[in-house]
């Protein structure tokens, strides 16, 4: 099927088979391997991208279903060398370790803020992460990063608790 997508601002025309998933189109045809596949039951969120301004699991969508859509992947968030505030927040807050869930997590976080504004309640953030699994971080720093990133997306700087730990010798 003949399709045309706008991916990270670039128009891509492609002939896609009916069975081609959006995730595979992005990774294999568009060569954007930042979107990851972490499961086969559409539960882990590693494959989340934005389609027409809303988050979507690209592993549960055929490419032709989003023909004509405006797609943004993790590679499209940064402005050249300048990181998107949410990307910067993830780094600042050590919200990634192996990095595999990270693209989907960041895309989810940006969508969360787009919908909910300057989200800050941990319970709300945690609930909004229902569709994303991380095995490395225990989510602590991810929640912090989203608080910081949400504020930054609204031009507000929250002091990132870089690491909330006591150190040294037992008293």
């Amino acid at each position: 099927m003949n399709c045309e997508f706008t991916v990270n601002g670039k128009i891509i025309a492609a002939e896609v088979s009916s069975t081609l998933l959006l995730a595979d189109f992005l990774r294999d045809s568009a060569k954007l391997t930042g979107t990851h596949i972490g499961c086969d039951t559409s539960q882990c969120g590693c494959c989340v991208v934005h389609v027409d301004g809303r988050s979507m699991k690209s592993c549960a969508t055929f490419a032709w279903q989003v023909n004509g859509a405006n797609i943004v992947t993790i590679e499209g968030l940064a402005d050249g060398e300048e990181l998107h505030p949410m990307q910067a927040a993830f780094r600042k807050c050590h919200a990634l370790q192996c990095g595999y869930c990270t693209p989907g997590m960041i895309m989810t976080a940006v969508d969360m803020v787009n919908r909910l504004g300057q989200v800050s309640e941990p319970e709300v953030i945690r609930e909004q992460l229902e569709g994303n699994i991380c095995r490395c971080t225990g989510y602590h720093n991810i929640v912090r990063a989203i608080q910081v990133g949400a504020a930054a997306m609204h031009g507000v700087e929250i002091t990132a608790p870089e690491h909330e730990t006591g150190k040294g010798q037992p008293a």
């Binding site: 099927m1 088979s17 009916s18 069975t19 998933l21 086969d40 039951t41 559409s42 539960q43 969120g45 989340v48 809303r54 988050s55 979507m56 699991k57 549960a60 969508t61 055929f62 032709w64 279903q65 989810t108 969508d111 969360m112 919908r115 909004q128 229902e130 569709g131 994303n132």
Partner: protein, 271 residues
């Protein structure tokens, strides 16, 4: 995945004739139920009829009886709709808790109700609110619609166009989520229409969504959490897996019903 032909009809008529022509064709709505199943090779349709481009399948409107939601309305749209929140807040709340945010951006009312997954949320609302399922061929009352898990009254070439939900005096949905799948392990929808109380249960039963006469009778007699204490929920009718025993699910049915009732009593009753 087995190859298939993808059709993107622009009208309902085209969609219906595509279904009639091909026994092996399946409808594609949000895709978040069907596509994972196709990936596992458990569904192998030779054709998919995508409903996304059909204008008649979009939109929410108020009706004299309540609210009508077109079949391809996304869960997120239902959750965010002022019309739905105004008429049936429990329905908007239910939609806002289906799956996760990404699922809610794609999943549709029609897709969910047509699939009738035994752990889905919408069927509980449809049954408890006595909704009317409007198809390309007819209207089907809720009580005639659900026929067992993954089974409905729909004919092979029949497409859900919209669902009209009557506006109750009050309603509430409570669910306990399965720790792995996130679906409703047990979900209870309680609705009051005047003196009538309807209680529908999803997730718990082995045969899909059902109403519980015992709970309804007790709540009609007295609408209070304690009134259901002596109602028996037959554990043998409950599903079980190593996450939750039958007895546990039966208990959850009562716990969630009580929570709904308690919520109602603590909120201002509607006129």
């Amino acid at each position: 995945m087995t190859p298939f032909v993808a059709h993107r009809p622009g009208t309902l008529e085209q969609a219906v004739s595509l279904l009639s022509e091909n026994e092996d064709a399946k409808l594609l709505a949000g895709g978040h139920s069907l596509i994972p199943v196709m990936k596992q090779g458990l569904a192998t349709p030779s054709a998919l009829v995508d409903l996304d481009l059909i204008a008649e399948l979009k939109g929410i409107s108020l009706t004299p009886k309540g609210v009508r939601i077109a079949a391809m309305t996304r869960h997120a749209q239902v959750a965010a709709s002022d019309m739905v929140s105004g008429a049936i807040p429990a329905l908007a709340a239910l939609a806002g808790r289906i799956g996760d945010p990404h699922v809610r951006h794609r999943g549709t009312l029609g897709g969910s109700v047509a699939t009738n997954d035994p752990n889905a949320d919408y069927p509980a609302a449809v049954l408890a609110l006595d909704a009317i399922v409007e198809t390309t061929a007819r209207t089907i009352a809720a009580q005639d619609y659900f026929c067992g898990m993954y089974t409905t009254a729909l004919e092979p070439d029949e497409i859900i166009v919209g669902i009209e939900f009557p506006r109750p005096d009050w309603a509430c949905y409570e669910k306990a989520c399965h720790p792995a799948s996130g679906f409703a392990m047990v979900g209870v929808f309680v609705a009051r229409f005047g003196g009538e109380v309807r209680v529908s249960i999803t997730g718990a039963g082995v045969d899909g969504v059902f109403r519980h006469a015992g709970l309804e009778t007790a709540l009609v007699a007295e609408f209070s959490p304690e009134s259901i204490d002596d109602v028996e929920i037959d554990a043998d009718d409950m599903a079980s897996d190593f996450h939750a025993s039958q007895a546990y699910r039966a208990n959850l049915v009562k716990v969630l019903t009580r929570r709904c009732v308690a919520r109602c009593l603590s909120e201002t009753p509607r006129d």
